[in-house]
């Protein structure tokens, strides 16, 4: 633990031998599926005519909603609402194929299976659909105005309204010496992993079983959904998550229509069927995030201490709510960051629009919360004429105040209670790292050259490693090799390396003798998934515990065999030996052999375990409460999340003429508890920062008033190339262990992206001298902001 070990999975990736879902079943004449999608944001389907498709060579099936009930009754029902919430009184989910209405441009209408994707798309072009156009509701303002409804039976377009309060914020604000009001706005963006979604399914008629591969963040979730929707027992369905080309949150939502339609087709046609989402589909038919409008009222004292904070916001969740209220709940709670307002009230409405649904995108509501809180801090500093870091410092939860209970309920339904952290220390580190105190001199120096620069700072706290649980299975084979399985999936985080490090450490085996499998329901059927920066915390801890159990058994058997006390044994590089007596030793392979009493020998080694070789005739071969085999299995289920934290600072230059925004320096201080593999953690931070730069300065979903997504391609949705990303990101670590898990670790996956909107707004505001209220921001928008300042 703590070593920057090179990743084992890279050998495969670097040789082009990764197995992503579209690499499955290549060359075995799998059939390929394609989906007809609505060109309209809001319309009633009057008629679907597929007659021209049937006579097309190479087409094997074409289905609309009308066909689903006959194939499997539950398929004609709406898709599941994954995370119900008592206040989500108007939750809605779509059908696998639209029944009689489409509510966003891109909603699935018909499903075609053909010899290859080319022919499948030929078929789509022959399907004719008659629509009655309905007025689309696009944007938060239109949804709140509610002149038109997304769903006829959802009044005011409001899916849910949730309020939480700790103390009496409104009274506190009324009595506060100073008050401010802010109105803020954040646009939509999306994950855009380089690999889109994909599903392959194979029905084995001989075994009466279904095997499916999906590019998902939860194979157990997909498995359960397939079983229910296809009317199969869970035991008849296996789901494998192969290599995944990035997830960033969007692949945690499930089941996507194709995750059900492809298995359905595999069973109906008796053929292997594959669906590979293309880029345009990923834009118009998968999921987005981020869009919120926020209204903030704050009361504070002369030092900037928060006496009362009252936040209202409106969360655009798109056309459906399969993932419940997770994103806005996270915004409403994580908004508090490292601060302790004396009273806090938050109320949000999660509202419908005729746009692609919203599910978590890396950060999952935290970037919006961070934006609200940090904009408020900057506004207070500006108002009081204080340094922005001072105002933050007086509001920090102090190191001796942990555990700190905010008196709110978090996304996992448990108290929002921070376990540990050291925010003052982080602030000192980030100031040193970015050169905060030296900046005024630098700014003056630049100004003398006619150049505009600004510095920004943003702090965040991230609840990571939420439950309910993860499990792990550790199996020491008679070869001495260790096979580890955990149920959650991997999208590039290097789990095969990081988890192997944990097992090697705990078990005393060589790192290269440990093999880790993730996301295969055949190896670990009980799991939740990879989201909320939980993999290392949850599966890491479970693996640690499972390895401990295996180790206990190793020592027990070895002690027996060597006739010594367990306490005198040590395991080094896969060999159990008596401390200070190396010749008295036994290797793990042999221990594994001995762990499984045999009647039949199948090789030299196994002879040692046969009935005439071992065992006390006076006892049963397998002792009471024991079981054969050298395995350890355990689950980790924490009481609550563990809270990582960090601070970002950035120095930007804005061109006085062209309004171009250039990043001069980016600094990150990050505290995710103990580090398992610093190299991997820094990689996560780099990626998060880059995604944050994209989200703050380049990426947005540009919908027009008719609900058409105008930039549904990489040509116009501007993911940064290396040329747009700072050359070098300064990183400093703080390691405040979590008391909640055996490894003292916290999650690191999302941190890098959380403060970006806030930190860039802060820096651009500092450079320009006027308030930034909306993100992302483009040079064109900055230019117009300057114009509107002049015209005041």
């Amino acid at each position: 633990m703590g070593q920057p070990v090179q990743r084992v999975e890279d050998q495969r990736f670097l040789r082009g031998q990764g197995k992503y879902v579209d690499d499955i079943a290549v060359g075995e004449h799998a059939l390929h599926a394609a989906v007809l999608r609505s060109p309209h944001a809001h319309a009633r389907i009057l008629d679907i005519d597929v007659s021209d498709v049937l006579d097309l060579d190479g087409v094997h099936a074409v289905w609309t909603w009308d066909d689903l009930a006959d194939l499997s009754a539950p398929m004609a029902e709406p898709l599941p609402l994954l995370i119900p919430h008592p206040t989500l009184i108007n939750g809605r989910t779509q059908y696998a194929l639209a029944k009689d209405e489409v509510n966003y441009m891109g909603e699935a209408i018909a499903f075609v299976v053909a010899d290859d994707r080319y022919v499948a798309e030929d078929a789509l072009a022959r399907i004719r659909v008659d629509y009655e156009l309905l007025t689309p509701v696009v944007g938060i303002a239109a949804s709140r105005a509610a002149e038109h409804l997304v769903h006829e039976d959802v009044p005011g377009n409001v899916g849910a309204r949730l309020e939480q309060e700790n103390g009496d914020a409104r009274a506190a604000i009324a009595q506060a010496p100073h008050t401010l009001t802010l109105d803020l706005d954040i646009e939509r963006s999306s994950c855009q992993p380089m690999e889109g979604r994909g599903v392959v399914a194979r029905w084995d008629a001989d075994l009466n079983r279904l095997l499916a591969w999906s590019s998902t963040q939860t194979s157990t979730g997909v498995r359960a959904a397939i079983a229910v929707k296809l009317g199969l027992d869970l035991g008849q369905v296996d789901v494998i998550t192969p290599d995944v080309g990035g997830g960033f949150g969007v692949k945690i939502n499930h089941p996507w229509p194709e995750e059900l339609l492809v298995p359905l087709a595999a069973r109906a046609l008796g053929r292997t069927v594959k669906y590979t989402e293309d880029r345009r589909e990923h834009f118009i038919a998968t999921a987005h995030e981020r869009a919120q409008v926020q209204h903030i009222e704050v009361g504070f004292d002369d030092d900037g201490r928060l006496l009362g904070l009252n936040v209202e916001f409106w969360h655009d969740h798109g056309a459906y709510t399969p993932y419940g209220l997770i994103v806005p709940i996270i915004t409403s709670t994580q908004l508090l960051g490292p601060y302790k307002p004396q009273s806090y009230r938050v109320v949000f409405e999660s509202i419908y629009t005729n746009t692609v649904m919203v599910t978590p995108y890396r950060g999952a509501g935290r970037p919006q919360g961070c934006f609200a809180m940090e904009r408020t801090m900057d506004a207070i500093a500006q108002y009081l004429g204080k340094d922005r870091t001072e105002v933050r410092a007086v509001n920090f939860i102090q190191p001796d105040e942990f555990p700190y209970d905010h008196g709110l309920i978090f996304q996992d339904g448990r108290e929002l209670e921070y376990d540990s952290g050291d925010y003052p220390a982080s602030l000192e580190k980030i100031k040193a790292l970015v050169g905060w105190d030296e900046f005024p001199a630098y700014k003056a120096e630049m100004a003398a050259q006619g150049r505009q620069v600004g510095i920004g700072l943003a702090c965040y706290v991230e609840g990571t490693g939420v439950g309910p649980y993860e499990g792990a299975h550790v199996h020491i084979e008679t070869s001495g090799k260790v096979k580890v399985a955990t149920g959650l999936t991997t999208q590039g985080q290097g789990h095969a390396t990081v988890f192997a490090q944990l097992v090697a450490d705990e078990l005393g085996v060589r790192f290269e003798d440990v093999e880790v499998v993730t996301g295969d329901t055949r190896r670990m059927p009980y799991a939740v998934g990879t989201f909320a920066s939980r993999a290392a915390v949850m599966s890491g801890s479970a693996i640690h515990l499972a390895a401990k159990r295996a180790k206990e058994k190793v020592l027990r058997i070895a002690a027996d065999a060597l006739e010594v006390d367990e306490k005198d044994l040590q395991i080094v590089d896969g060999v159990v030996s008596v401390k200070g007596l190396p010749e008295a030793s036994i290797d793990l392979g042999t221990v594994s052999v001995l762990s499984n009493p045999l009647r039949y020998a199948f090789d030299e080694a196994s002879k040692a375990a046969t009935q005439f070789s071992v065992g006390d005739p006076g006892k049963p071969p397998v002792a009471e409460g024991d079981e054969p085999g050298l395995e350890g299995k355990d689950f980790y289920s924490p009481e609550r999340a563990t809270f990582a934290s960090g601070m970002h600072a950035v120095i930007v230059e804005t061109d006085p003429e062209t309004a171009e925004i250039t990043i001069l320096k980016y600094a990150v201080v990050h505290d995710c508890g103990n580090l398992i593999n610093p190299m991997v953690v820094e990689g996560q931070i780099h990626g998060g920062v880059a995604q944050g730069v994209g989200g703050a300065l380049y990426e947005r979903m540009a919908y027009d008033e008719s609900g058409q997504l105008l930039n549904a391609s990489f040509m116009d949705f501007l993911i940064p190339y290396v040329t747009e990303i700072p050359d070098g990101i300064a990183i400093d670590h703080l390691e405040t262990p979590s008391p909640l898990n055996p490894l003292g670790i916290k999650g690191a996956g999302e941190a890098g992206v959380i403060p970006s909107a806030a930190v860039f707004a802060s820096a651009i505001e500092d450079a320009e001298g006027f308030t930034i209220k909306a993100m992302p921001i483009s040079p064109s928008e900055l230019f117009h902001l300057r114009q509107s300042q002049e015209h005041r």
């Binding site: 105008l710 391609s713 116009d716």
Partner: protein, 207 residues
């Protein structure tokens, strides 16, 4: 998106009005219209080829004339769908008589462009619609000055085995007599824009 314009024709209103309700005239004058089928009173299904440069696509469209106030106004509801996308337009057409024997036609189209085109090409619409309007009126000029065309209404053939199905001679090019052209403007507006937009996409990559 909105497309609007007006135009004066040296023909009396009643003649223009009658021509407007004649499918033979429609098929001959809608730019790129290859086939037109009567599906009901003043309702037609048609196949139109539209696009710019070499980037053309074939679209199945429908056109319905409603709210007929004889010699005064009508509403034309258009929809076209092809592999690249869809366009749905409502065109309000108003007739007036600026001078005896003349007809002024004002049209005001509101088009919604959807599908792939909506996703990657819509931002070309404004410049494209401007260009289309220019082309329409240019053609009107030609028509008025007597510039004929191969497939004028006269040469439209009604398919024998399928009554009510009209097909224009291959390769619709120029413009028929001036009154015929009126419908070219109004009916064409919605559909042609779609095709032109598609050309717009070409702008987003390098040859």
């Amino acid at each position: 998106m909105k497309i609007s314009g007006s135009n004066v024709i040296d023909q009396p209103v009643d003649k223009v009005w009658d021509a407007l309700l004649d499918p033979r005239v429609l098929v001959a004058t809608i730019p790129g219209c290859e086939r037109l089928e009567t599906t009901g009173d003043n309702q037609y299904a048609m196949t139109v080829t539209a696009g710019v440069a070499a980037i053309k696509g074939t679209y199945n469209g429908s056109c319905a004339l409603s709210d007929l106030h004889e010699h005064q106004s009508l509403v034309m509801t258009l929809s076209g769908a092809g592999a690249p996308g869809t366009v749905d337009a409502t065109v309000n057409v108003a007739f007036s008589e600026p001078a005896p024997g003349q007809t002024q036609i004002a049209y005001d189209a509101d088009a919604v462009v959807g599908g792939m085109v909506g996703g990657v090409g819509q931002r070309m619409l404004s410049s494209v619609s401007k260009r289309m309007a220019g082309e329409f009126f240019g053609n009107v000029g030609t028509a008025i000055s007597g510039g004929g065309r191969a497939g004028s209404a006269a040469s439209v053939v009604e398919t024998a085995d399928a009554p009510g199905v009209f097909s224009a001679p291959a390769k619709v090019g120029g413009i028929g007599s001036q009154d015929d052209f009126v419908k070219g403007i109004v009916v064409g507006a919605g559909l042609v824009v779609l095709g032109v937009v598609i050309g717009g996409i070409f702008g987003r990559r390098r040859s």
